[in-house]
């Protein structure tokens, strides 16, 4: 595809249930990021994958959050035992390898709006 895609676009779940969010990055982009945007807030970094390196998980808010990436393609973000405070838009971004300028610009997907009732 031409851009980063995410699915589902919307997800409503009950407190305590597990959810899985999917991200398909742009082909050839070795780096992939997950962010969270709560209502009225900025973009909160969650996790970063770069090639075969160990992911940077420093932004994950709790051990209920985990993410995986298959090679340099699809990534899934899993939230276990969802809580109401997990309600947010979850954004995925990818970027291409290269010199620093190319390393900086991230291309975002449309996001998944998660609502935990």
């Amino acid at each position: 595809g031409a851009g980063v895609s995410q699915s589902p676009s919307n997800k409503v779940t009950e407190k305590g249930k597990d959810v899985e969010l999917r991200c398909d990055p742009i082909s050839g982009h070795t780096a992939l990021y997950w962010y969270r945007q709560r209502l009225g807030q900025g973009l909160e970094f969650l996790i970063y994958f770069q090639g075969n390196s160990a992911p940077d998980k420093s932004g994950l808010p709790s051990d209920r959050f985990s993410a995986e990436r298959t090679g340099e393609s699809v990534s899934t973000l899993t939230i276990q035992r969802t809580q109401q405070e997990d309600s947010a838009v979850y954004l995925c971004a990818s970027r291409q390898p290269g010199p620093p300028l190319f390393q900086i610009t991230q291309y975002f997907g449309p996001g998944t709006r998660l609502t935990v009732l």
């Binding site: 980063v4 780096a31 962010y35 009225g40 807030q41 900025g42 973009l43 970094f45 970063y48 770069q50 940077d56 954004l91 971004a93 620093p100 390393q103 900086i104 610009t105 991230q106 291309y107 975002f108 997907g109 449309p110 996001g111």
Partner: protein, 113 residues
């Protein structure tokens, strides 16, 4: 501890006038700055960037100014158009960690026809 701040949550400007969006940062290691634009139900898209070796970068109607001593940057949009109505995020990165980009909370711009 917010390293990138956008103190105006919202801004309204008349069509044709100048829009000025401000951003302040606290980390003196930041040396590359970006502005992203976000429409509702879409992901942010890259708009313009500036390196710390410059104090101005221009791209069409969009100009970013950087004042390193004040740790302040601003995005100017001239002339403003209704299609510019969106949320604008300021972001910053450091040469020691280009992998990490820190985003501000965003400013919602409304351009009134």
């Amino acid at each position: 501890d917010q390293q990138v701040k956008q103190n105006s949550p919202s801004l309204s400007v008349q069509e044709g006038r100048i829009s000025i969006l401000n951003c302040d940062y606290t980390n003196s290691m930041f040396d590359y700055f970006l502005w992203y634009k976000k429409y509702p139900a879409e992901g942010p898209t890259f708009l313009i960037s500036i390196s710390s070796i410059k104090d101005k970068n221009e791209d069409g109607r969009f100009t970013v100014f950087l004042n390193k001593s004040a740790k302040h940057l601003s995005l100017h949009i001239v002339p403003s158009q209704p299609g510019d109505s969106a949320v604008y995020f300021c972001a910053a990165s450091a040469v020691t960690s280009y992998d990490k980009v820190i985003f501000g909370p965003g400013t919602s711009l409304s351009v009134i026809p």
